[in-house]
Symmetry: C2
Subunit: 222 residues, 2 copies
């Protein structure tokens, strides 16, 4: 009988994540790990971003879900290459799942690959996938206490997209509280106010993604 400890699993994951990252760097692919609670609006935000980015850059998506291919179908409807990973109960994507998905995917060389993680504000924080940056989608409908209550997720990201801001007026949502909690956990982190549904703020997020990509790979593809 072989038993593998959690520490060894994480070390093994890091090694595969590193190999993923080397592949992405070699192919000039800027990779985002998109995280957030179930229903935060990760797929909706992709639906808002992909047509804009896709005008001048190759884009592709890896979708992670426990079950169904509903999210991949929404991305495929935009004629963007997509692979669905069903985690069969696992609460997060890991680097090996991403490596398999990348093999099956038409890689967006010189462009941007989005990896949409399983909807979960806890477990995916611990697993590197080979991404360059993380973006956590937090919706105002989840309440203004979530940054403080889920610190591992918000400590390990580079940016937060505060989504569904069009609904903020109907809620008792204290944005200053979110900002203060973020400043404490993630000094220097970026906060974008967006509505995937109305399109508000999506242009700013798009510009940031283009800049971050260009910082790493230049503007050759633009």
């Amino acid at each position: 009988m072989k038993i593998v400890s959690a520490k060894k699993i994480l070390a093994g994951n890091d090694k595969i994540a590193q190999a993923n990252r080397e592949l992405f760097d070699k192919e000039g692919i800027f990779v985002l790990n998109l995280l957030g609670s179930p229903g935060a609006g990760k797929t909706s935000l992709l639906e808002a971003l992909l047509p804009r980015l896709g005008k001048s850059l190759p884009v592709a998506v890896i979708e992670g879900d426990l079950a169904t291919s509903q999210d991949a179908e929404r991305v495929a409807a935009l004629e963007v290459p997509v692979v669905q990973v069903n985690t069969e109960g696992a609460c997060h994507l890991d680097a090996a799942m991403v490596a398999s998905a990348a093999e099956a995917l038409d890689l967006p060389r010189g462009g941007i690959l989005f990896i949409e993680n399983v909807g979960n504000l806890v477990c995916p924080a611990g697993f590197k996938l080979g991404e360059h940056l993380r973006l956590v989608v937090l919706s105002v409908t989840e309440g203004d206490d979530k940054v403080a209550k889920y610190p591992p997720m918000f400590r390990k990201t580079q940016a937060v997209a505060l989504n569904k801001v069009d609904l903020a007026g109907a809620l008792d949502f204290d944005e200053a509280k979110v900002e203060a909690d973020l400043k404490r956990l993630l000094p220097g982190g970026r906060l974008f106010r967006v509505s995937a549904r109305t399109g508000a703020g999506v242009e700013e997020l798009e510009s940031w993604l283009r800049e971050e990509r260009a910082c790493r790979f230049g503007n050759a593809s633009g």
Copy 2:
């Protein structure tokens, strides 16, 4: 070096959950495991239910969170006995955490104990705590695709509280889809439409909880 496999951990958890259940049964305490995504409205629903139930029944709460005692403070403000469990990174409560919390709690003998799990639509599904029933809180702002996308959680509950129905008008939310998916995964399961904020539907949920408690322990405490 000792290594404990996941299977053994679950078997060990089941054993402690069974002991919790025996304690709760002995003391005539009806126990609910309250589950759902971050921000689904679990604590808000407790804030709506506790003052109603507390009029004629002892009530108490165990709060599970990664960090902070914000939820416990909200319950304590209602003058309801509460213990906060900080899971230190764990993505779910387990039976041992509940056993420790129960020791620290002024137990609501003859009444109802709510155990609010960590906000997570995946991991808590696998861990019995010793509860009599599970109630999953799903908010309309999370979207109408969540039942199909997170089947383990919805297969293992007895009821679903569809929360924030006051916001449904502002969203493209297909309630029939949720109902159909639930019927498939959870035949005979109950679906309550509620708004913790406006109070809509809370009375029906309260009645159901009273009935389920009375079925097990009779009306002596009423």
